[in-house]
Symmetry: C3
């Protein structure tokens, strides 16, 4: 041994060792193997790389900021409220233009409520010893009309209590013609890529007058009536009972292309359960109050039960950019699959054809 | 060369070439290799495919919309406010039922504040030349009582300023019995799959009377007291100091199964730091004001420092569906691992056993 | 056949079959192959495992809850409002401290609006037969001054209508010195890992007096002026026209290390389009109203057009933890790549060198 042996060992490191193959001149298995190879190659190139962009690293957790701004006025003339004009400050809740906003379209007003005792709204229930009192606290007294068996619980509450009936037609049906301007800034943190849905245009007047439609897919101003229609609902019915509409903004960006090709795609859907008609899970309303103080310093309030359409702007997206790791993973797994294809063809060659015994002897060299 | 040669080359494309193997009749290494193969197969089938569902493509970026609705009234009788009834419009902020809502349980009221000058709340600090004035702007004067060394800064502020002490017991302790109805619509954009947490049931009365519990895991109505208890906190303590509770809704859906098997799982946790007692990072409160105008057109306000429980409904989820790409990647990497197993067994055969020299000579065919 | 044959077959299962290799004593190809092997190994170990942590499973869908609390008072003295002090309850909208909050810095107040008829704000447009009336509904009458050709539409609206001019300098320029305290709780649901951005410190006074800066990267209290400056904007300009600032909190956690090494990283950016000066897409403002009721029970309101800075706290993050599946996938695809390297070296050996014919004959053993 010694120096010479070590040198030999070192040099043998640079001998190239290559697998020995046996050529089986069997066209059937040969063609089968080529077909398998081509299928895997087609899958790898066609499906994984071209269609699914398997060479890209993807980021689906985007940061998003939404600014919304409504425009429009409505005029109503009801016996209760008289002639009244409704502007943005009246019907948008909350006013600050976040990604979730509510447009009031219907209203049950209970003015001048004060802390006092009064009969409960639902008369029939007093039989049950005033068991159910949703709006206030029972005083224990039962307010019966003379000669009547049934009566009404007396409650301590904001009085008078709200009456249960709602108008038969929406108050602000003309909300259909209001517009909403949606500004959406997104950022894919993994790729440090930012964009807005508002086009960087010189044409200011376009952005003031355009309306989103299939012809104007990048206009950020939407007609409320259109949004509701595209979501598959009837504006009149939604304005009456309330409801929730989702405005989905989808960013599907291939960052290997120019940034200008990364554009939002809008879609609209109804989010409260519209099928369950008159069920507990359809419609949308909530109560709020405006508080006043009279000359004597006593608080009173006007209770509003607001029906309307809540719009949830939901942004999601996916960005892809070339990255070596998913590329290698996909190529590697495709190659490994080729090995599996060879294994399958071996099975055919060694066990399923006529001369399999002969090939088995040739492929496997027995050593003793 | 010419036609014949090209034909021969073309035909040889369809010769099947298969690796030549040497059979080493060594049972030890043979068994070792089978054990390695079986382990990899067990890992691949058992862990990757059965447990981790490696044949599925997953989507973790879901779109979610949450509607919340509170129910319940509370009656209080304090020296400050007298007999008073609190309903939803009084204690829920904001009223519109979004995914983050706040239930007021405690209150410091500072009524009839007007823009004026008045002494600062914290008397002792005036020594420091009125250096710290949180509630207003110093006028520079120091309001000292006669014979006193210490004094109080005069400030221009909303006067009178808020007093610092808070009640010893929560005002709306009965908020424990309020209920919240949580409607959650989700959508996995990658699979175009939508669902709601409210069961599509015919039984309307069930949805009106049920309460979420381990026995009713799909009832969307929660008792506030239960939520707080499940989050590991004490309602009474939280109602006094305020706090934030997270309501996690987790959707873990296997879309290879029926949609009815995709159900939400609720969990509850405390989000403000409850351990750091009386620290800056525990508790939850904020200030807001109601503005009034007196007969002379002068604005005044009532300042509220509201303590209470903020509930953050947080939705996350994961959906998986069979997809060929992750399946191939997992199978491919498993097969590649088999190659690594063979490499390891080769090392044993060629260097670690007695007859390794003999096998080495047989495996490697030297060519000169 | 029979028992003996079956036994033979069973035993042969435990024969170890190993590929037969041909040693080509060609140093060039040998060295080439070693270089390819080393490159793949370096890529796999260096890039995939050390840099990209390919042995980790990652979770990017985190749950986050944000609590914000502003501090600061501002004093203004204008001809319109007189001496006035602004505190948190006055300038923060909404008050409840969510992840999106708005600090009012500028204001157009239109006091004592009532439902009535009055001339429209923009006089010149009446020529167009009152075609454009943004603030109300046209009555049809045109209010012309004597001898004038142009006139003003009469509208039914909240009168008087808002005047269009905005102040030349921001009302609450001192908002620059306000501070915001941001509490952020996160949870990675896949790893059941929770953390807060507020340090678990004994030092309460540090958390009360610190200010976030590069020297204090874990202090959760931010000066508004600093946030705007770090976002690359001018506070004075933003306070005048309004704008939206994104506060990004990024959690990049290696959960194989100690939890204390998982810390947030803050960054700041402007989200409305600041480049498009005076364009429709820059600035931020909204209208809201405070409603009053006079002694006769008639509603009137004060309309505010609020300009200011909206802050969007956006949280995203990524957590990684060792997991066997991605490890195997990355090792497997690396190994498969080694196979591709061998295939490439084979091509060189069999077709590109002088003695390639000889090696081809040795590698492929023809069987007839």
């Amino acid at each position: 041994m010694g120096q010479v042996a070590w040198k030999g060992l070192f040099l043998s490191l640079f001998d190239y060792k290559t697998e020995k193959y046996v050529i089986a001149k069997n066209k059937k298995v040969g063609i089968l193997y080529r077909v398998v190879q081509l299928s895997i190659l087609a899958y790898l190139v066609g499906w994984v790389f071209v269609v699914k962009k398997g060479y890209q690293d993807t980021d689906t957790s985007l940061q998003s900021s939404v600014i919304t701004k409504l425009k429009g006025v409505a005029f109503t003339n009801t016996s209760e409220l008289g002639e009244r004009l409704w502007d943005v400050a009246d019907y948008v809740i909350p006013p600050q233009g976040e990604n979730v906003f509510f447009v009031m379209t219907n209203l049950i007003v209970t003015p001048n409520q004060r802390q006092a005792t009064c009969p409960e709204a639902v008369a029939a229930l007093c039989d049950h010893f005033c068991a159910v009192c949703a709006a206030g606290v029972k005083t224990g007294r039962c307010l019966k009309e003379r000669d009547s068996i049934r009566g009404t619980c007396e409650i301590l509450a904001w009085c008078p209590v709200e009456k249960r009936s709602k108008p038969k037609k929406p108050l602000l049906a003309s909300a259909e013609n209001f517009t909403v301007y949606i500004k959406n800034s997104i950022r894919f943190p993994k790729f440090k890529f930012s964009k807005m849905n508002v086009l960087a245009t010189d044409n200011e007047s376009y952005l003031k007058s355009c309306r989103y439609s299939t012809e104007h897919p990048y206009c950020p101003i939407f007609l409320l009536g259109n949004i509701v229609r595209w979501a598959g609902s009837d504006f009149h019915e939604m304005a009456l009972e309330g409801g929730v509409i989702g405005i989905q903004i989808e960013w599907n960006c291939d960052l290997d292309k120019a940034p200008s090709e990364c554009n939002p795609h809008y879609s609209f859907s109804r989010l409260d359960n519209k099928f369950a008609e008159k069920s507990i899970s359809s419609g949308y309303n909530f109560r709020f109050a405006k508080y006043y103080r009279d000359a004597d310093g006593v608080d009173y309030r006007t209770l509003f039960k607001a029906y309307g359409i809540r719009f949830d702007v939901m942004v999601n997206g996916k960005a892809g950019k070339f990255n070596i790791i998913p590329t290698v993973i996909n190529i590697g797994s495709g190659l490994a699959l080729m090995g599996a294809g060879a294994f399958f063809c071996d099975l055919v060659l060694l066990y399923l054809i006529k001369k399999s015994n002969f090939y088995r002897g040739k492929k496997y060299e027995e050593v003793k």
